[in-house]
């Protein structure tokens, strides 16, 4: 079943797909970020991938392109799992939002923005979710130190 889906995908979106890989029987696709929403909509409507299991970002410091947004999909009627990685450059940190396909992506994309700084175009309410609203910096990037970059401004107000 997975091979049919991958063959179909390769026919439809030949220029977008950079690599198809497999590790320990889990298949994944590496794509460019421009038509990611069309790919995901095509997968959701034709092969009924109705469960978005996860959406998150990865930082590859030292590689070009630096960031990747990973979508983990599962199809409940067909029992097929698939992973799609969209590569993002450091200069142009934007990607389309998939909130109208799966409403669960609302908070998942907010968390991705909070932790990495990736901006999702078309998101209704993109603001920080875990860190305070006036925090500077993006914590899960590899160049953000584990102990933080000094005191937060809010604590300085309280101490004074």
């Amino acid at each position: 079943m997975v091979e049919e889906i991958l063959k179909d995908l390769q026919q439809q979106f030949k220029e977008e797909i950079l690599e198809i890989g497999e590790f320990r029987t889990q298949k994944f696709l590496v794509v460019k970020k421009d038509r990611i929403k069309d790919i995901l909509r095509w997968l959701k409507e034709n092969w009924s991938f109705n469960h978005l299991q996860d959406l998150f970002g990865v930082d590859f410091l030292g590689k070009i392109p630096r960031f990747a947004v990973v979508y983990q999909l599962y199809s409940l009627p067909n029992k097929v799992q698939l992973r799609i990685k969209a590569l993002i450059d450091e200069e142009d940190l934007t990607i389309d939002s998939v909130v109208d396909l799966w409403p669960v992506a609302n908070w998942l994309e907010r968390e991705c923005y909070d932790m990495f700084g990736i901006i999702f175009k078309g998101h209704p309410d993109l603001k920080r979710i875990y860190m305070p609203e006036d925090w500077k910096g993006y914590p899960l990037r590899k160049d953000f130190p584990v102990k933080g970059e000094g005191l937060w401004d809010g604590v300085k107000d309280l101490i004074r």
Binding site: D54, Q81, V104, I129
Partner: protein, 401 residues
């Protein structure tokens, strides 16, 4: 404070902040409610008061050192988090635990699930008003925590599973005690059901509250008993079997209407099925070793190459005759999911060959369920919001990572 923007609200609405300090929000959860009379017009939850940065910390520790970190995610049923992480790393590195370890992990996971559902029932009933159920459930939960303390030495943050198996074996008399407890446990569940299931006050408070239809439930990312109350049969233990779940016999209860009463019935039936699984595990427990042969050692070095004994297993620093060195761990990535007590708990781990994981991503069910509260609660009464938070079974330690 700087950085906040005041929003415009209409004059007829009343804004109520069900703030982080509240006895009914099960932790530090802030809910901004805009009320029109007694009905909720808009609801906006905010999380982040318990954020501890577990994903960032996990990148600085070696693989076995992350296990006590995962304890602190869902601290009510923490064995399941440990087993989830260990199963993910075992699938990534290609380690297969022995049969006795699989049955032990399954038994301990199901005991944790029973203890989590007991605490859920206690606090849910207490929020709605039935105070006796709270004390009855905690009487049984205390017994289960005594058994888990006999097995591994702690009551809350166990770190008992290990990558490749479990840490230490269980004695026969503990298994007999658990067996006797489970025999008497079915009558206790009948007691809780006798107090609540046919009670007209309970039915009036929970029937028709927080209804969600099946397509919306999947689209909003609900999993676990919250999804099965709406009629969809998705259980990770049956779709992606791990440990000994393919060798024990159990059913998955599924609801029909998608309201609070059906989710309550689902969870109570799950308690019965979990007790059945524990009994089968004790009967079928095989003999043998509890740790895989190619399991990684506890004091894994953060980088470098692995030393091998002539007969093949990896050694510590004391044995001086070395045969050859091979790269520490295979590279790759994996996503693996476990059936947590609240929903689907997923781990995505990227390994770059060294002793530390490159990226650990934890997909927590509570975070996603909190984002579905506005869909369930808008249009309901204020008293129903408390019932809805209880029925989704959220814990902030998990939602805030």
């Amino acid at each position: 404070m700087k950085g906040y923007v005041l929003e415009q609200i209409e004059p007829s609405k009343f804004v109520l902040q069900m703030g982080p300090h509240h006895p009914a929000t099960h932790g530090v959860l802030k809910l901004f409610l805009e009320l029109e009379g007694e009905r909720v017009a808009r609801c906006r939850p905010e999380v982040g008061y318990l954020h501890r940065g577990i994903e960032k910390l996990a990148e600085t520790k070696t693989y076995p050192q992350v296990v006590p970190l995962t304890d602190r995610l869902d601290y009510i049923a923490s064995m399941i988090n440990n087993v989830g992480y260990c199963v993910a790393v075992e699938r990534l590195l290609g380690i297969e635990p022995p049969p006795r370890a699989k049955f032990l992990r399954t038994m301990v996971c199901e005991l944790s699930r029973i203890s989590n559902h007991l605490l859920w029932l206690a606090t849910h009933a207490l929020d709605i008003g039935a105070m006796t159920v709270f004390l009855y459930c905690f009487r049984e939960r205390e017994q289960i925590l005594w058994f888990l303390e006999e097995i591994c030495g702690a009551r809350l943050t166990f770190s008992y599973p290990r990558i490749g198996g479990v840490r230490i074996d269980v004695e026969e008399k503990t298994l007999e005690k658990i067996d006797r407890f489970i025999d008497g446990f079915f009558q206790k569940i009948d007691e809780y059901e006798g107090l609540l299931t046919e009670n007209r006050i309970w039915i009036a408070r929970t029937r028709g509250v927080g209804v969600i239809n099946p397509e919306d439930a999947i689209a909003y990312g609900l999993t676990g008993p919250s999804l099965r109350g709406s009629g969809i049969n998705y259980d990770v233990r049956k779709h992606f079997p791990y440990d000994a779940y393919s060798e024990v016999d159990f059913e998955v209860p599924v609801g029909k209407h998608g309201d609070t009463y059906d989710r309550y019935l689902c969870r109570v039936q799950e308690m019965r099925q979990s007790a059945k699984i524990v009994k089968q595990c004790i009967q079928k427990m095989p003999e043998g070793s509890i740790l895989a042969e190619n399991a990684i050692e506890l004091d894994l070095p953060p980088s470098g190459k692995k030393k091998l004994h002539p007969e093949g297993w990896s050694t510590g620093a004391f044995i001086s005759f070395l045969k050859e060195k091979e790269p520490l761990l295979p590279e790759g990535e994996i996503y693996s999911a476990v059936e947590g007590a609240k929903g689907e708990l997923g781990f995505f781990i990227i390994s770059d060959g060294s002793g530390r994981p490159y990226r650990v991503r934890i997909r927590v069910p509570s975070f996603i369920h909190i984002s579905a509260i506005p869909k369930l609660a808008e249009g309901q009464f204020l008293a129903d919001v408390v019932a809805i938070i209880g029925t989704l079974d959220i814990v902030m330690g998990e939602a805030d990572k």
